[in-house]
Amino acid sequence: MIGPQPNHPTDAGGSSAHSGPPDIDLGRGRFQIIVARARLALRTVRDGWSIFLESRIGLLSLATILVFALMAVAHPILMATVWDADVYDPVTGYSFGEAYHPAAPSWRHLLGTDPLGRDVLSQLLSSTRSEFVLGITAALVTVGIATTVGAVAAYYGGLVDALFMRLADLIIALPGISLLIVLSALFRLNLFYLALIIGILGGFGGTAIILKSQALSIRVKPYIEAARTAGGGHFHIIWVHLIPNLLPLSLLYMMFTVTGAIFAEAVLSFLGLLDLRMSWGIMIHTANTGGYLLGGAKYWWLVIPAGASITLLCSAFYLVGRALDEVVNPRLRRQHD
């Protein structure tokens, strides 16, 4: 195998008992354990990465995500250097240079302008950042909750388990978009609240069930038994032995949550129900309420950049998730004969 192998007894943590009297230097031992663990984690990541590299679709999707990330970074830079805020601001800008709006793409406006005279490219780039913020916040909240709930439910079982799983059943039974539509009628939803709601619904819902079933299979592994025999407390076992082994699967479900969150935001924005400054869904909403959508290909720059971005970014996260699935779940891998 690749990866550094401990060829020196003092290299591996905890083996200092062989050399000299049992003078236990706790600080030094702990440090070595951390180093050994980091090395192990690094090797897992490297192995996983080499499996991931085999998936062409996964790599392509990862590249797509990177391009979108670059777009998100590019917007503030462009606004600060090349673009004049009066003209190119995604929300309040107005292009005086064009006779009619929406104007077709030109050198001044690479993707044209929208019906209100704002630059489409600037809107597209500035929305990318909020989509990332939304997707990643929702994914972190979901996975944070789901991993904890899954580990705790699997570890303790009994009443705790039943309670969390019934809650998850309830949340699965709720149609998410419909519920969000109702919520948007009752409250003003901005990006942060939306991410939080999606994260909470996902975290206590289906993702928790999946992570719990994984945690159940980890709980019966010998090293958990060993940790318990060695006197590890509940918190220690959950935190140090259970959750780290759940993380690969958590990462996988983060990808799916990002897809779901971006999709939900786009749908709600398209229906005009969210309190956001600018997003891809709002761009399509603006074109739709202006009646430009059934003009079809004539006003393509109002719909296709935003629509394609939503589809591309969603499917990129989704396909990265699927490629990760093959890394995490060895049974899906293609056999090398």
Partner: protein, 383 residues
């Protein structure tokens, strides 16, 4: 088995109870008071207002209101819609539920069938062109921005090609002078469909083991005969052209919903098949010298079906949400569009009513999946 189903049914009732509770408290938690919504609505005459106030107990404390709300919901009293004024919420919903049910059920059934068929095929031939094409197009359709995709479908098939109408439930020009209501015609269409499915199912059951007439079996002949008889019967009924009009409006939404939702089933079937194909019994079936398609369909796919059916719940919820979006884009007057219109016009009684019914839909879907699972998995049946 009965015990299992009863327990699941009990859980469903509890879940419905919780959904109703949730919608009630969400409405209570919003800024502003539900009672003043009624009191300030200028569309309501004073006597109706006092009547509503009494029947919903809007001047009583919260917990009493909650109990009254619960009682009202289970007796079907959702109040009076603001937007459709004198009509009660339940009447508006009763008109629209069958429309959503048809859209949703047809699309789910066809997308499940297509997804399972394709997933089976691409898992069997791992690494082929079909796998790449199906995975990429499936994932693209699955994650495609639904409203934009629906608009593209409208633009191509309704606007450019003109094969189907642009949206809505019926064409007023066709219905001018007709002396029946749309709901009347639609309920007859539903009855016909239900009767046809029941007939086909029974025919399959009875004639399954019968001899073949030439290349086709008796059952297929029977179903084909029935499929021919239905249009003929409708053509002589006098309202055939009206039914055809509704049918023409139905095609595009159903096709769109099917296209966006088959990929989930397809990708899952693929994964499940890949796991099943390594099992010993598949190798045993091959070793017996069974033909490849028999090994695939009867031995591998039959077992790969179980996890797919388990996760059918997710795809059903996806389809329910999808039908809300599809309904809004196609102006298809079902529960989803009703919910959206109610949300936009702050028609709170209608919002709560539609949400309860959409929740009910997903619960029924759950129950159906459970029954299906019991039927498919003998380990549960005989426990």
């Amino acid at each position: 088995m009965t015990g299992y189903l009863l327990r699941r049914a009990g859980q469903m009732v509890l879940t419905l109870f919780l959904i109703i509770t949730l919608t009630f408290f969400l409405v209570q938690a919003q800024p502003g008071d539900y009672a003043t919504f009624y009191a300030l609505n200028p569309d309501l005459p004073a006597e109706v207002r006092s009547q509503i106030k009494e029947s919903f107990g809007l001047d009583k404390p919260l917990w009493q209101q909650y109990l009254i709300h619960m009682k009202n919901t289970f007796t079907g009293n959702f109040g009076v819609s603001f937007g459709h004024f004198p009509r009660p919420v339940i009447e508006v919903l009763a008109e629209r539920i069958p429309r959503t049910a048809v859209l949703f059920l047809t699309a789910t059934a066809s997308s499940f069938y297509i997804g399972f068929f394709l997933g089976k095929a691409i898992a069997w031939r791992r690494g082929g062109f079909l796998e790449y094409a199906a995975t990429i197009s499936g994932a693209t359709l699955f994650t495609a921005f639904t409203p934009a995709f629906a608009l593209v479908m409208i633009w191509i098939f309704a606007f450019k090609l003109g094969w189907f109408p642009v949206g809505k439930f019926l064409d007023p020009l066709v219905w001018r002078g007709a002396d029946v209501t749309a709901n009347h015609v639609f309920s007859y269409m539903l009855l016909t469909a239900a009767a046809f499915i029941a007939f086909a199912f029974l025919g399959m059951l009875v004639f399954r083991r019968m001899a073949r007439v030439g290349p086709v079996s008796m059952a297929t002949l029977l179903v084909m005969a029935a499929a021919l008889a239905v249009p003929v019967a409708w053509a002589f009924s006098g309202i055939g052209h009206l039914a055809l009009d509704i049918l023409r409006h139905m095609v595009l939404p159903i096709v769109t919903l099917t296209l966006i939702s088959f990929a989930g089933t397809m990708l899952l079937t693929r994964n499940s098949m890949l796991e099943t194909m390594r099992e010993d019994y598949v190798m045993a079936a091959r070793a017996k010298g069974l033909p490849e398609n028999l090994v695939r369909d009867r031995h591998a796919a039959r077992n790969a079906l179980l996890p797919v059916v388990t996760s059918l719940v997710y795809s059903l919820i996806f389809a329910i949400d999808g039908s809300v979006i599809i309904e809004s884009v196609f102006s298809w007057p079902g529960t989803g569009l009703t919910l959206l219109e109610a949300v936009r016009s702050e028609d709170l009684p209608l919002v709560m009513g539609s949400m309860v019914f959409i929740g009910l839909f997903s619960l029924l879907a759950h129950v159906i999946v459970d029954v299906l699972y019991v039927y498919l998995d003998p380990r549960i049946r005989y426990r």
